[in-house]
């Protein structure tokens, strides 16, 4: 999968300023993953539901009206769980759950789904999901090959939603430690990972853990993106702009 498309997409995620803009953005993400639907859902400090999704508004209204949140196995199954969930592995045996599934299918919700429960650093809870029409084999192939990207993206969507909900300025990342800044700085100079690990006197796997933590805190798609964001925000220096005469 082309990582630069994902990078562009996540750049645009970071400039969304309202839940409405985030909602528009989920349609881009849906097209990127080439699935039927994308949905993100959380609860704000006032206890109100906040969501950004590609479902039709009619279905969203019906979901609220029918109080489906109380019987939806995707929501119930995610309670106190941090492991991603394949929707077909959930308990649909309750007749109410089955009726709900039928109603959802009528509204154009696909037969397959993959949810990521998200517990944020401040105790908040959110759910991110992809939904599609596919055979079991196709869906399994998709979730296994894209599982990592889905995890990464789901948390970045959550971070952005939290910034919007808490009215924070866009792009204020969690603090990076000096070591993470060192690693990103060295990488920004075009050094290989092996060289950077050697320079910092750590193993390559340790370096990976450090830079992936930095990537997550910066809200970046990948390491290149993390370096670019850290540079743009002045977290690391712009050494490359000074020619060496």
């Amino acid at each position: 999968m082309p990582q630069d498309i994902l990078e562009d997409l996540l750049e645009r995620l970071q400039i969304t300023k309202s839940i409405e803009e985030l909602q528009v953005w989920t349609h881009e993400l849906r097209d990127y993953f080439d699935v039927a639907h994308v949905v993100y859902h959380t609860v704000n400090r006032e206890g109100e539901h906040v969501g950004a999704f590609t479902y039709g508004l009619e279905w969203a209204r019906r979901y609220v009206e029918k109080e489906y949140v109380k019987i939806d196995p995707v929501v119930i199954g995610a309670a106190r769980r941090f492991t991603p969930m394949d929707w077909k592995s959930l308990d649909w045996s309750n007749p109410k759950a089955r009726a709900f599934a039928k109603d959802a299918a009528k509204a154009g919700i696909g037969n397959q789904g993959w949810s990521v429960p998200i517990f944020g650093p401040n105790g908040e809870f959110a759910l991110f999901a992809l939904n599609d029409n596919a055979s079991d084999d196709e869906w399994n192939e998709f979730t296994q090959s894209r599982g990592k990207d889905i995890l990464v993206v789901s948390h970045l969507v959550h971070q952005q939603a939290m910034r919007i909900i808490n009215e924070e300025t866009v792009g204020s990342p969690l603090d990076l430690s000096p070591r993470e800044k060192d690693a990103l700085t060295q990488l920004s100079l075009g050094q290989s990972r092996a060289a950077v690990a050697n320079e910092l006197n750590i193993s390559e796997n340790t370096l990976r853990a450090y830079i992936d933590s930095a990537r997550h805190k910066l809200g970046a798609a990948n390491v290149t993106h993390a370096v670019a964001l850290a540079t743009a925000r002045g977290i690391i220096g712009r050494q490359k702009e000074f020619p060496k005469y």
Binding site: R80, R81, V116, K148, V152, L174, E180, A209
Partner: protein, 212 residues
């Protein structure tokens, strides 16, 4: 066999849970004299057990605990960041594709095959859910176990320099490592996949048993 059990599901496995927390008390308090709390039931339980972690547990044929590890996502509160950030160069490890593994415990008499099976099960979990790496709090003495089963973590940092030292280690998650550990444990990759599905699929019933 392997079970993946969230803390809030342990009540469905009373014998397994009781023996696991007792084996942890024996390993961490009695044998290694760690500064851990053992309650009136003889269970070693800490603050992280109260945060609904996921346990990967080897169950003996008599239903008791053979070995276990405890898994938590690094985007939440974890032991490594709370107590050992001086071993990670001050870096707060936090990524949705890195999970933390702590309280690696083997029941008295459990062989290296159990250790290998547990770690293979941990890898199965990581592969199925799209993870990249695992970090862990490692007791230096248990390092020998990892060496024996051929899946040695890279050490990020170590506290102390004697046999009581504690390290933070990092492992790569790969299908190659899983297959190799399956081989060492004498468990087929199919069985490992089967146990995973039995734990995480609510519709995993006799029908799927017949099909497997």
């Amino acid at each position: 066999m392997i079970h993946y059990i969230y803390a809030d599901q342990l009540e469905n496995f009373p014998v397994l849970a009781d023996s696991m927390f007792k084996d942890r008390a024996y390993q961490f308090k009695d044998r290694h004299n760690w500064d851990v709390t053992v309650n009136e039931n003889g269970h070693e339980i800490d603050q992280y057990d109260a945060m609904n972690p996921l346990y990967v547990i080897w169950q003996n044929e008599d239903g008791t605990h053979g070995g276990s590890i405890r898994i938590m996502p690094t985007v939440g509160q974890i032991m490594t960041n709370d107590y050992f950030s001086h071993l990670t160069d001050g870096v707060k490890i936090s990524s949705p594709v890195i999970w933390e593994c702590t309280r690696f415990c083997l029941a008295p008499g459990a062989g290296p095959n159990v250790a290998a099976a547990l770690l293979a099960a941990g890898l199965e979990l990581g592969i199925r859910f799209g993870l990249d790496q695992a970090i862990g709090v490692i007791y230096t003495r248990t390092h020998a176990i990892y060496r024996r089963i051929g899946w040695v973590p890279e050490i990020i940092g170590t506290d102390g320099d004697d046999r009581e030292a504690i390290s933070i280690g990092v492992w790569d998650i790969s299908t190659e490592a899983r297959d190799e550990l399956c081989r060492k444990s004498g468990i087929s990759a199919d069985d490992m996949a089967y146990w995973f599905d039995a734990s995480f699929n609510a519709n995993f019933n006799d029908e799927s048993l017949a099909a497997a």
